[in-house]
């Protein structure tokens, strides 16, 4: 496509939009007859407009420039083909019936700079609004979709694997096998968060990809589900699917079921704490007592507190109270839930 300012492009331009060359027009007109004053032009404009019932005032950045000089000054001749001049005049007259403003002169450097600056400010504002929309709305949609896909993949994997040998002592839970970094290994069900709540849990607590796209993340070096010690996980409380959005709604006695390849670990919520972001001692085998060895099977969940802030962390502690091998099916607390139905319909662990 040619530039609209050269060759054939200019002709196409003229038919859609009158081309103005003010300097040239003034020069050719002044040879024969002085150009009408600006006030005179406005008066004519108003008269013509009122004749057709259009609004009288014409506001523009630039002084209005009379297009059809050929009509008001028949003597003034344009150095261009006659047909084209006539077209321009007709186009202009019909345009006036459309109540379009008079064509503007290009802005000067100062006005142009100011206008560009203003446009950049508006653009920056729009980008900020778009960022908020993306963060508060789109990341949830994307993360929820990822969660469903990942849970389906996980249960399908499990159905293709043989579960571990059951331990001798039926009360002794199987300890889940460690997995590689950024690999999913379990599904959380928390009935308190909703009948349809389930979130995958993966190894590691990096924002990308674990916390932003895989749901919950296990602190490396913490215990695996079923292990003696502290099985510690982190999750977003807002944005990215907000897996721990309702962490503050947990009440003592609420069950948190973790499904893995081997079975279902039921942790029971005990208490919560609000701590500073650097209080890593909550991840110790006995939370807050880094020196102690511990003999309990603890689950610790951390999320930001208050919401939309990184000032503190909300910690929820739970303790393993029940365990069901995969062969025996889901425990009663989740077996009838929408979440379990949805997860199990694909692979069926």
């Amino acid at each position: 496509m040619n530039s609209p300012y050269s060759g054939d492009g200019a002709d196409a331009e003229a038919s859609s939009r009158p081309t103005i060359r003010p300097a040239q027009r003034r020069a050719t007109a002044s040879h024969s007859q002085p150009l009408p004053s600006r006030r005179e032009l406005r008066r004519r404009e108003a008269a013509a407009a009122s004749a057709t019932g259009a609004p009288t005032a014409v506001y523009s950045d630039a002084p209005p420039i009379q297009q059809d000089t050929t009509v008001s000054h028949p003597v003034a001749s344009e150095p261009q083909p006659a047909g084209r001049g006539g077209d321009g005049g007709r186009a202009h007259r019909s345009r006036r019936h459309d109540r379009r403003p008079v064509e503007r002169e290009p802005l000067g450097p100062v006005r142009g700079t100011i206008r560009t600056f203003g446009e950049l400010c508006i653009t920056a504002g729009l980008i900020l609004i778009l960022f908020v929309v993306w963060q508060l709305w789109w990341t949830d949609i994307a993360a929820n979709r990822d969660n469903e896909v990942l849970a389906d993949e996980l249960t399908e994997d499990w159905s293709n694997q043989d579960p571990n040998q059951l331990p001798e002592d039926p009360d002794e839970p199987i300890v889940a096998d460690p997995v590689g970094r950024n690999e999913a290994f379990g599904i959380f069900y928390i009935p308190r968060f909703g009948d349809d709540y389930y979130r995958t849990v993966a190894e590691g607590v990096d924002l990308e990809p674990v916390l932003n796209r895989m749901g919950l993340g296990r602190y490396p070096n913490s215990a695996m589900p079923g292990d003696v010690g502290n099985f510690s996980i982190a999750g977003h409380r807002v944005t990215y699917g907000k897996p721990l959005n309702q962490i503050a709604e947990l009440r003592p006695g609420d069950e948190i079921v973790v499904q893995t390849k081997d079975g279902f670990y039921t942790y029971t919520f005990r208490n919560f704490d609000i701590i500073l972001p650097d209080a890593v001692e909550v991840l110790a085998p006995v939370p807050d007592m880094p020196e102690s060895k511990g003999k309990d099977r603890i689950l610790t969940m951390t999320a930001c507190n208050p919401m939309f802030s990184a000032r503190e962390r909300y910690v929820a502690y739970a303790e393993l109270t029940d365990w069901t091998p995969a062969q025996e099916g889901a425990p009663e607390s989740i077996s009838g839930s929408k979440a379990y139905e949805k997860v199990s319909k694909k692979g069926g662990a």
Binding site: Q135, V205, L211, C304, F308, R313
Partner: protein
């Protein structure tokens, strides 16, 4: 010369084609921002931290 005015005048075709091209350009800009720019910026926002750490990221 304003920025958007310049872009508008640089686009080929009549006003309808220009409008179409502008909408496509806007959609492309939104997609690039959401897909590549925002994920890079987001970790610097104050509300995305859920982990307890000893000084690390």
């Amino acid at each position: 010369m304003s920025m958007y005015g310049f872009i508008w005048r640089s686009l080929p075709g009549n006003w309808f084609v220009r409008l179409l091209i502008s909408l496509i350009l806007i959609a492309a800009a939104v997609f690039l921002l959401m897909q590549y720019v925002f994920p890079v910026v987001a970790p610097y926002m104050p509300f995305n931290n859920a982990t307890v750490t000893d000084g690390g990221p």
